[in-house]
């Protein structure tokens, strides 16, 4: 239990004095990486501060760096190294998906859900599902739109699957790479409090694409208004997740660069949605009766 005294900032005394006062405290030596145990009870950790810092992540950003380094210590050519990226249980994946669909204002997706355990399962399989959902829904929607026309012969349009796959996987991997490089570069110029690892950015992007899966299914409805409302709605939801994640990382920077970065993130996200809608889903016919063939024999 954190008392009022514990919440006040404490001067750091000599290490010997501190140790004498609290012999059970965990000591840390700087020369080697040491895993900080999660349940330490020494005075150096202030559990009351965690809620304030959740958005910024100052409290546990040091810890996450140490823990991340500790976790992925297997060399990259072994299988165990890649197993650390799949260290999630079913309920964790479901929680992360829920967090991406119902963004809580003020809470950072990365700090709240990922907590230094980024996984590749979510991004990979959400992208795969999205690829096939868009291809299948596009096919179905075109089938229903052109149903009944004698000149239309149904083709499964299998080529579009490969195009969809390339586009979506490129978006889910190259944009985080570019963003991560950009943030690293700005980090070297401006001392940012928050910095994300590459995998965490990939994770956020992957999970934020989840909302497009039910959207793609609903795009089968051949009404323009419905489709555009769906685009705007899903863009708001997943865009807000991205904005709330990346705003703390750039807000200490030059104001114009920060706004430009966030605007670019949103623009690329919107471009993906609109591009998929335009390419895979034919425009629905307007609600007019069958065109009347002009009568030529009137002249």
């Amino acid at each position: 239990m954190a008392t009022a005294d514990d919440l006040k900032f404490q001067e750091f005394d000599d290490a010997a004095n501190l140790l004498a006062a609290n012999p059970d405290a965990t000591t840390i030596s700087i020369d080697e990486p040491v895993e900080i145990p999660k349940n330490q009870h020494s005075r150096l950790q202030e559990p009351g501060r965690e809620e304030d810092d959740e958005l910024l992540g100052t409290d546990d950003s040091d810890k996450t760096e140490l823990l991340a380094g500790q976790k992925k210590s297997a060399p990259f050519w072994t299988f165990e190294y890649y197993q650390t990226f799949f260290d999630v249980d079913t309920y964790q994946v479901l929680d992360r998906i829920k967090g991406s669909v119902f963004p809580v204002p003020g809470k950072n997706f990365v700090r709240l859900y990922i907590r230094s355990n980024p996984d590749l399962y979510g991004p990979f399989w959400i992208c795969a599902t999205l690829v096939f959902t868009i291809a299948v829904s596009g096919n179905l929607s075109n089938f229903f739109i052109h149903l009944g026309k004698p000149t239309y012969h149904y083709v499964p349009e299998f080529r579009k699957v490969s195009i969809a796959a390339t586009t979506i996987y490129a978006y889910a991997w190259l944009v985080p790479l570019a963003l991560w490089g950009f943030l690293m570069w700005r980090n070297s110029k401006v001392m940012n409090i928050v910095s994300y690892s590459f995998l965490e950015i990939v994770c956020v992007y992957g999970y934020s694409l989840f909302i497009y899966i039910p959207t793609a299914v609903l795009w089968i409805i051949p009404q323009k208004v419905v489709r555009w409302v769906l685009v705007v709605f899903s863009l708001c939801l997943s865009g807000s997740v991205l904005v709330m994640t990346f705003w703390p990382a750039v807000r200490d920077d030059n104001r114009r660069i920060a706004v430009a970065t966030v605007a670019t993130i949103l623009l690329l996200h919107a471009l993906l949605a609109v591009g998929c809608l335009a390419y895979f889903f034919d425009a629905p016919e307007l609600d007019i009766p069958a065109p009347i063939i002009p009568v030529h024999n009137s002249t």
């Binding site: 799949f86 999630v88 249980d89 309920y91 399989w125 599902t129 083709v155 299998f158």
Partner: protein
Amino acid sequence: FPGLADVSIPQDIPVEGEITVPVGSHSPEEDYSTLDEPVKDTIMRDLKAVGKKFVHVMYPKKSSALLRDWDLWGPLVLCVSLALMLQGGSADSKDDGGPQFAEVFVIIWFGAVVITLNSKLLGGTISFFQSLCVLGYCVMPLTVAMLVCRLVLLAGAGTVSFIIRLIVVGAMFGWSTLASTAFLADSQPPNRKALVVYPIFLFYFVISWMILTFTPQ
């Protein structure tokens, strides 16, 4: 050596005997040697193993025969026949047609490899080829569905035939997924079973979609 100077082989005694080493009794390893048996026996043994696995897929029980003696003959035959039956669609037309032979092949094998890697990365204890074997054999109900679809399409391509095909493909898709889950679920860590089953569901869904949307030219 002083005594040897007197030793000499007399020229008139013929030297005879066997040069070869006498063959000892049959060692146990030689009983498993299959080089001497007739070719028919070898082929029949493999065919029987493949046939037994097909029966196991038809009535999926938690038996370990499918896992223990894995082989990839069955999956290869199923994959090739499915890819062949998916030909003859709109493949000859110039616009976007159905999947080509290579596309079906790649989807099935690449999909099976990805699912196997996924289950191993999540901490599954099954071996790589065992998982490939199970996933390949469980394509069998969908191959049967493809056969039925082609026969139904010979009769006509209207709404009734579509409904029949939908029901048949749906039932076979469910059967495939349940069969492969029955074999693979035990080797997964308990908290992650859903994470492993979902990609299998997606895999068979994509194959079912290819079968259902097949339209002959």
